[in-house]
Amino acid sequence: MNAPVHFDPASDAYTTPLSQIDVSDPKLFQDDTYYPYFERLRREDPVHYRKDGKYGSFWSVTKFKDIMTVETHPEIYSSEAKLGGISITDRPMEFRRSSFISMDPPRHDDQRKVVSPIVAPANLNNMAPVIRERVCKVLDGLPRGETFDWVEHVSIELTTLMLTTLFDFPIEDRGKLTFWSDCATADVNAGGVVDSEEKRLEFLTEALRTFTAMWHERAAKPPGFDLISMLAHSEATKNLVNDPAEFLGNLTLLIVGGNDTTRNSMSGGLWALCKNPAEYQKLRDNPGVIPAMVPEIIRWQSPIVHMRRTALADTELGGKQIKAGDKVVMWYISGNRDEDAIDNPNRFIVDRTRPRHHLSFGFGVHRCVGNRLAEMQLIILWEEIMKRFPVIELVEEPKRIYSNFIHGISEMKVRIPA
């Protein structure tokens, strides 16, 4: 899968020997060329074994229904950090930090239940006016008639402000949250500042220090309704601060989960509309489609490319024999294009009949806890955009990040006509 000058991903995907296809290559996502590789696996070898790939040996689960099977059997497919956790990257043992996303029931259940009230329906109603006010302010401040980066000015700004609310974190220091989020997920081979696990830990240690101080401050006060106070005052997590690795694991989970994924859907949604002008027109003609369009954007973007599990026992999946200890990767980005589960999956349709039937939030006990908050932010964003800007033009194709885990857009130049 080297890239000559006239590289055609579709022909490469279908001429590479099946056993040599390696969908873990982050270049496929950075270059936006992953589609035909997954299409071939879904058709010819939906549960596919890649021996000695870029990220080791692993099973790729590419169809919607097989992914659902893995999701709903945590007793076979473990998320446990020490076994490898939730990402295809096998970090050295000393860098495997536990958090409730990389835990199995019942410990997972106890910790997750501590934080979930912050994103429950009643609290979403409380947060909606604050979110709308910020969206209006950010949109009203955008330049007209000149090119600017949508990612920096809209997606990062709005999602980082959301994080300051969830953590009750000083707004003026919000850039740190974005930085820590990016540090937590960076691929060490991406060419960025995080080029080793040691370096990642060095940067994240500052986050740990900051939040540890915040924890002690809030633990001494009556319970508040921010994530740190909730963790500090809850029975299941009140000693979390004494286990710095697990505290850091949970912090990075909440920072990344509450930020990165929504950020990239804010960027990816505008990209999808610009590339599908007839759908963009449908939205202009009827902004009432926004609540249906938002889950479609989240499917289309698939902000989390994959989640990994480790088999605890020998089992069968899609006719293949999985052995205890095997690494099993659920490619959400592929299941979201599975024609057996979704009608016309390769079309972006703003008024789809069943738009919520997608894998981007995962399913089962680990299903995204903040999914409704993410949707609400996107709904408000698009409602306010449509009140102001009937047209936003894509000036350049977006720049994407080198990662097989976060489907990220790092820069997207756009222009609002004057």
């Binding site: 979930s116 429950a120 329906p121 009643a122 399913f363 006990v365």
Partner: protein
């Protein structure tokens, strides 16, 4: 066909005839009853078809089996009550004619 009444959180009631063998969730989704999202499509994997069973029906419908996948998914849902069920796990029979289910404030 058994008739099931779905009552939205705002009080709007929808009386729907649901074919035997379908789930209570499917009856709502097929008839565009708002308030039941059913994101996973009936796999008991998301808790977005959460309903409260009418008191008069609770004995007949029953509660989720402790330790079951339904009990586990419900334990993560918001605003659960002792009469909470996932409507994808209730399969309609003749005995369900007249069943009343109410919807929570939101699906999560």
């Amino acid at each position: 066909m058994p008739k099931i009444t779905y009552i939205e959180h705002n009080g709007s009631a929808h009386a729907i005839e649901v074919p035997i063998g379908k789930s209570v969730m499917q009856g709502a989704v097929d008839n565009n009853v708002p308030g039941i999202d059913a994101d996973c499509g009936g796999e008991c994997a998301c808790a977005t078809c959460h309903v409260y069973i009418d008191a008069a029906w609770l004995d007949r419908i029953g509660l989720p089996v402790p330790g079951s996948q339904e009990a586990s998914m419900l334990s993560f849902a918001a605003v659960t009550q002792p009469d909470s069920r996932l409507s994808c796990q209730i399969h309609v029979t003749d005995a369900h004619d007249g069943l009343i289910v109410r919807m929570p404030e939101g699906q999560h």
